[in-house]
């Protein structure tokens, strides 16, 4: 069975190689090849999953060692895989959602002349993401980490002829670079501390290591996680990343890649458990982000950007849960999986709407679409109910568990965390209802596109609706299934540990409170957007609204805090380089040049003066020799 693990990665990698190097002759069938290889990976994942299920609890970790990369004394970099319950969960999510989105893309990208390349990049992403979650050491994880970053960059900028897409790709790449430095420093620290990169030895010996070192490693890992998962303060790239094709937004920037940060923190749980200060920072980052993202989501009129804010916010929940330690790890992952279903479903639904509306993204120009796109409406609606935490749908179970765990943190902290998360839940209900109402209900506010074409909304083809239906089923049922006898938490327990904190409020109370704030959120949105027609042009709005539309001024902040000083620093360095360094260098050069010009004149071409020079030289030679003896 172990030998199948490598194939999980190899199948999409092969697809990427073939599709990206195969040339135009693959244009006609390339997308089906890519989809088939993604599905192959999924089938392998299911086979491995049932194999794991058939084993005893403690025997569910498989290893595959491919080869050692540069084996030298004291440095062992193995290309080796580890499949345990945590990786398995991710593998199923990645290959499952990934295959569905491959299928969806067949329809969505039908008219794009570069579809083959698109599928090549998607396959490349799958391979890198699987490498990331299957690596058995941090160095190989880093390879996958960079690989998904590359795929993300290529796919955000897939429509490279659009300046906004190209800029967004660059922005994502640069912001991620900041986070990646964190990961590389963390890995270096690990190597100097533990002498190895492998999960097993690093994590098992973490408990005996000094807390200071672990805090440093933890903070660096968190920096990496913030970059990849778009958490404050490295969140600014995610909104712009929506310039990529919608399937990309669904797969990479909602369901899988952006959750890699959560994976990293949960995988490194042993380090964080022993470094409470680092954990606190994780919690703060998660809490801030969940509110931040929700506020941004409330103000955006671009359907994809509103959903991107929501993604940020939901990952904030996961990050917060991961910061809680063993009482939160399992639920962070559980929310990650359910979120994978409903958020991917929402994005695919948004893509389907855009498909029918001439690629219009402004929700103020939608309206009344439920009659024209029934399947999209129903699947989107189910995912909507799931994310706002409608009782007994997926989000209800996973989010409530996290809120409960927040209270269970205990003390004042617990109350603060719980309240913040309840606030987040209210905001979630508000902005999701807003999206729902603006898009599917109310009057038609359709506008002709730039070329004057009136939109003719229609239901999308089966290749697009089938994935949406499947994801809707997952959005409805996954949470219930996972929560049955806490099956999901127990499945993960051997890897992440599981603890039930001591909460001042009971499970039932939390659920009730969460449902209540959800109703408040829905109601507020209904009062604002459901009862009266929404204006096509956004009203000016309050200061908060305007700030939220500008992503709470994140770009302005980055510009003022980093870009401007950086520019001045560069200018200063250039000035110093020009005046001082070049001055010295040019001065030296000029001095030597002048000297050279003078010395050159001695060479006048007359043999007689050459002879004099020789004679003088000989005289000096003799004189110095004699003088040396005399001294």
């Amino acid at each position: 069975m172990e030998s199948l693990i490598g194939l999980l990665v190899a199948a999409p990698l092969l697809g990427a190689l073939v599709l990206l190097t195969g040339g135009r002759r693959l244009d006609r069938a390339g997308h089906w090849l890519g989809t088939a290889l993604a599905a192959t990976s999924f089938v392998l994942a299911v086979v491995l999953f049932f194999d794991l299920l058939g084993r005893a609890d403690g025997d569910r970790t498989l290893h595959q060692h491919l080869f050692s990369w540069v084996p030298v004394a004291g440095f062992q970099a193995d290309i080796a895989f580890q499949l345990d319950q945590l990786s398995m969960t991710f593998v199923l999510l990645i290959t499952g959602v990934g295959s569905l989105i491959h299928l969806y893309s067949v329809g969505y990208m039908e008219h794009d002349p570069r579809r083959r390349r698109f599928f090549g990049y998607l396959n490349l992403f799958l391979a890198a993401m699987l490498l990331l979650v299957l690596a058995d050491n941090y160095l190989l994880l880093y390879a996958g980490w960079e690989g998904v970053g590359l795929a993300s960059y290529l796919l955000i900028g897939f429509w490279q002829d659009r300046p906004r897409a190209a800029t967004a790709a660059k922005k994502a790449f640069i912001v991620n670079r900041v986070g990646d430095i964190g990961l590389s420093i963390a890995i270096m620290l690990m190597f100097t501390t533990f002498g190895t990169f492998a999960f097993g030895p690093v994590l098992s010996s973490a408990a005996e290591t000094g807390e200071g070192t672990l805090t440093a490693i933890g903070l660096m890992l968190l920096l990496a996680a913030c970059g990849k998962s778009a958490q404050v303060p490295l969140q600014s790239w995610l909104g712009d990343a929506m310039e990529g094709p919608t399937p990309v937004s669904a797969l990479i920037h909602a369901a899988t890649m952006v959750t890699a940060g959560v994976y990293l923190v949960v995988r490194s749980g042993a380090i964080f458990n022993a470094a409470p200060d680092a954990q606190t920072v994780v919690i703060v980052v998660g809490a801030v982000t969940l509110v931040f993202g929700a506020i941004v989501g409330c103000a955006k009129d671009d359907i994809k950007k509103a959903l991107a804010g929501s993604t940020m916010s939901q990952i904030g929940y996961m990050m917060l849960a991961a910061g809680l330690g063993p009482i939160g790890y399992a639920f962070a992952i559980m929310h990650l999986v359910t979120h994978g279903f409903f958020k991917a479903g929402l994005f695919l639904g948004a893509g389907s709407v855009m498909h029918g509306m001439n690629d219009e993204v402004d929700m103020r120009k939608y309206g009344g679409l439920r009659k024209y796109m029934p399947v999209t409406f129903i699947t989107f609606g189910l995912a909507y109910l799931a994310i706002i935490g409608f009782p007994y749908l997926s989000g209800f179970f996973s989010k409530d568990e996290i809120i409960y765990a927040g209270f269970a943190k205990g003390g004042t902290q617990g109350w603060i965390l719980g309240s913040v998360m309840l606030l987040g839940a209210a905001l979630t209900a508000y902005y999701m209802t807003r999206i729902m109402l603006l898009t599917f209900f109310g009057e038609k506010r359709w506008q002709p596109d730039a070329h004057g074409h009136e939109p003719h909304p229609h239901e999308s083809p089966a290749t697009m609706t089938i994935p949406m239906i499947v994801l809707a089923i997952g959005s409805v049922g996954a949470g219930f299934a996972f929560n049955l006898n806490e099956s999901f938490a127990h499945w993960l327990e051997p890897v992440t540990g599981l603890a039930h904190g001591d909460s001042p409020v009971g499970h039932g109370t939390v659920s009730l409170a969460a449902t209540a704030v959800m109703v408040i959120g829905v109601g507020a949105a209904y009062l604002q957007y459901g009862r009266r027609p929404a204006p096509v042009v956004a009203p000016a709005g309050s200061f908060v609204t305007r700030a939220a539309r500008r992503d709470l001024l994140q770009d302005d902040f980055n510009h003022a805090a980093f870009v401007t000083p950086g520019t001045y620093l560069t200018r200063g360095l250039v000035y110093v380089d020009h005046k001082l360094v070049d001055g010295v260098v040019n001065g030296l050069a000029a001095a030597f040049g002048g000297l050279s010009g003078r010395l050159r004149r001695v060479q006048n071409g007359y043999a007689r003066s050459y002879a004099v020079s020789m004679f003088g030289g000989a005289a000096v030679l003799i004189a110095v020799t004699l003088l040396m003896r005399a001294v």
């Binding site: 050069a589 030597f592 040049g593 000297l595 050279s596 010009g597 010395l599 050159r600 001695v602 060479q603 071409g605 043999a607 003066s609 050459y610 002879a611 020079s613 020789m614 003088g616 030289g617 000989a618 000096v620 030679l621 003799i622 110095v624 020799t625 004699l626 040396m628 003896r629």
Partner: protein, 534 residues
């Protein structure tokens, strides 16, 4: 009166030089008796075979242990057969062999009246531009005497580093110099410049020889003998015998110091060290480029060999006297060569000043006075000679209507027109500059390390600083070739015959091999670093 005794000669140990001289004599006979049409082919083949045979003899002697355990002094104390001698003879013979190809190249000049001609004057004795010359050109004459001249010059160079006796040293000097003076005068184009260079070289060379000879006389007065071993004995205070006729002068240190300084000066003239370097740019520029390449490479090898042996075998006891002087000469050469080269506008003059700077670098290894110093100099010489030969071979190929286009401004943009050739030239320039992965780096590193180990840090620092200055003008040429717009009336690169191509290719290969994997050759030079004393 003593009876004259027939000298005992170790013929086999002297085989390399004997072969070269023998072939040279045959070459002269061919010039005298063979029909004009047959001379070129015969001479080329014969000269090539002569050098190849002599090189084989060197290899055989080295393989027979003559470089190490069997090292000896042959010919009644006049010639050493040891590691340094054989190593340098091998290098000189290889340079000679490649020079034959450069000399024999006949595809560069446009054919005259149906005859392909080389870079040498049709009728050297004719007045430049005169009727006799035009007739000779019309008749398609060529000067095939260059091959015997080359052989004699190489023969002298083989003896030079092996000379273990001041008189043999002097004779070797003259044997190698006279053919070079002639060769310098033989350019086909710019004949007046060529003849001027030859006359200057001859006059200054004669001047230097006079100093050398005077120094030999003084040393004889000091030691009563001209053999290196005998001089060393007197310096160490254990003369073998006291000549009653010289009893008043023997052991007089003034004679030793002045004589030694004058002999060293004669050799420094040959290597082109400051302040005895003035002839170098003029002669390098005026001489036919194949001759310049040969001369720049081989003369330096031979002269440094002779200098090393003189200093290490005969004058070793006075090293405290000559070390500071050579320090000064080395520094002056490095600095003056590098600095003056900055403002040169002619490729050949640029390379001439570069060779002066390199003489300084090599002297740094000489001053180290250690086995490492000797072997580092040997390695440097081997590396440098191939780079030099290759660089001048490239210069022969860049031509316009007036022959070789040596003015630097004409080389602008050469890299765009002929990237391969410009790339190879850039490789040679980088090797001159001592950039890693070229032989120049390995050589410089070895020399500076030896000097540093011997405590000559000042020399090393100056050397590195001079290298930095020198890098400027080497890289400037590279920039000129690759990053400047080509001129509309710029020169073109002539496609040569396989002869020149093989020279350029081999030189580039040696440059890379000695740069990338120098260890084998460093070991070889290391094993060859011991002089035989008696």
């Amino acid at each position: 009166m003593n009876d004259l005794q027939a000298p005992s000669i170790e013929w086999l140990a002297l085989l390399p030089s004997l072969i070269v001289f023998g072939v040279a004599v045959i070459g002269v006979l061919i010039e005298a008796f063979a029909p004009r049409a047959a001379r070129y082919g015969t001479q080329v083949v014969l000269t090539t075979l002569g050098f190849a045979g002599a090189f084989a003899a060197v290899v055989a002697l080295a393989a027979g242990g003559h470089a190490t355990t069997e090292a000896q002094i042959a010919g009644m104390g006049s010639l050493a057969v040891d590691g340094p001698a054989l190593f340098l003879q091998g290098v000189i013979l290889l340079v000679g062999l490649l020079s034959v190809f450069l000399f024999a190249e006949r595809r560069l000049e446009p054919a005259r009246h149906g005859t392909r001609v080389d870079s040498f004057a049709a009728q050297p004795a004719a007045v430049p531009g005169g009727e006799a010359e035009q007739e000779a050109v019309k008749a398609g004459h060529t000067t095939t005497e260059i091959f015997p001249l080359l052989l004699f010059a190489v023969g002298g160079m083989l003896i030079f580093p092996a000379a273990n006796d001041l008189l043999v040293l002097f004779i070797a000097l003259e044997v190698l110099s006279l053919p070079l003076y002639l060769l310098c005068a033989l350019a086909r184009r710019k004949r007046l410049l060529s003849q001027e260079a030859a006359v200057k070289y001859f006059l200054l060379g004669a001047f230097a020889s006079a100093f050398l000879l005077f120094g030999i006389a003084l040393l004889y007065g000091y030691a009563g003998t001209v053999t290196y071993a005998g001089i060393a004995d007197v310096i160490s205070g254990a003369p073998a015998a006291i000549d009653p006729g010289l009893a008043s002068t023997m052991g007089n240190d003034a004679l030793l110091l002045i004589g030694g300084a004058l002999v060293v000066m004669g050799l420094l003239f040959k290597v082109g060290a400051v302040p005895f370097h003035m002839w170098t740019p003029d002669v390098y520029q005026g001489a036919p480029t194949p001759v310049t390449g040969f001369m720049a490479a081989a003369t330096k090898v031979a002269a440094f060999g002779a200098l090393l042996r003189l200093l290490y075998v005969a004058l070793d006891g006075t090293r405290w006297d000559w070390e500071p002087v050579l320090w000064g000469v080395a520094i002056a050469s490095m600095v003056a060569g590098a600095v003056i080269a900055i403002t040169q506008t002619d490729v050949k003059r640029l390379l001439a000043y570069s060779s002066i700077a390199h003489a300084g670098f090599i002297l740094a290894g000489v001053v180290a006075v250690s086995e490492d110093g000797v072997s580092s100099v040997l390695f440097y010489l081997a590396a440098y000679s191939f780079v030099t030969l290759g660089a001048f071979a490239v210069v022969t190929l860049v031509r316009d209507a007036g022959g070789e286009a040596t003015h630097l401004s004409k080389w602008a943009g050469l890299g765009r027109r002929s990237p391969l050739l410009a790339g190879v030239f850039a490789l040679f320039l980088l090797a001159f500059a001592g950039i890693p992965l070229t032989s120049g780096f390995a050589g410089k590193f070895a020399v500076f390390r030896a000097a540093a180990d011997a405590g000559a840090m000042g020399l090393v620092i100056t050397g590195v600083a001079a290298s930095a200055v020198a890098a400027f003008f080497y890289v400037r040429v590279i920039v000129l070739m690759f990053f400047s717009e080509p001129k509309a009336d710029g020169p073109s690169v002539v496609i040569p015959s396989p002869l020149t191509m093989s020279v350029v290719g081999l030189a580039a290969a040696v440059t890379l091999v000695l740069g990338i994997a120098p260890q084998y050759f460093l070991d070889l030079a290391g094993q060859a670093g011991v002089f035989v004393l008696r």
